[in-house]
Amino acid sequence: MASRPKLSGIQKQALALYRGFLRTARLKAPEERRRIESVVSAEFRGNARDVDRRNFVYIEYLLRRGKRQLEQLRNPDVTGLATLEAKK
């Protein structure tokens, strides 16, 4: 991967969503912000690693879910988020 390949539309959407999350995290308290950033970053990186890049249906589902979660996080009454680790 010497030269940067052109990003597909769906990749751009994912990056825009990530940007949106990081922007929204800035508006929260510093400690919560760090936690939100680490949760969001882990989620995006985990999915980038585990999800097959041709699995468009699932990726589009994740994008929709992410957008909905971002809308909720944008609410100023929401101060932070928590995750539950499910044992596999």
Partner: protein, 135 residues
């Protein structure tokens, strides 16, 4: 003599595309040194490539964001990808830069940033635009 020194002032600043005129002034170099301390006219800041300080600052932030060691060389032409950054890291770098410089980068331009120099040029443009708006 006075008029010569006056026109030399315009080229005293290191500009990437060195004007051929400056060659003829090379004999006056000693005189030119004194003029470097003078404030540079605003119009020259626009055509210059990104400032050295901006590039250095960008390099520092990139290093911090990617957790690179001191032995890794980061310079203006470094590509984020060559430094081991994926597209998510690039988003993080741009967000970090936004915060450090107090600017807001548009979605479309944020995605075209691939090197430290790209970022520095964009930042200089945005900072200049913000200054122009506030003054």
């Amino acid at each position: 003599m006075a008029s010569l020194a006056g026109s030399a002032l315009s080229f005293a600043r290191p500009v990437k595309a060195i004007n051929i005129k400056s060659v003829s002034f090379s004999g006056l170099r000693k005189d030119n040194v004194a003029f470097r301390l003078q404030p540079v006219p605003q119009r020259f800041a626009v055509c210059c490539p990104a400032k050295k300080e901006t590039v250095d600052q960008v390099c520092d932030i990139v290093k911090k964001q990617l957790a690179l060691g001191d032995n890794t060389e980061v310079c203006g032409s470094s590509k984020f990808q060559d430094l081991g950054a994926d597209s998510l890291d690039t988003v993080e770098i741009v967000m970090g830069l936004e915060e450090a410089f107090g600017i807001s980068v548009e979605e479309s331009s944020a995605q075209s940033i691939a090197t430290v120099e790209d970022a520095a040029n964009l930042i200089d443009d945005l900072v200049a635009a913000a200054d122009a708006k506030s003054s």
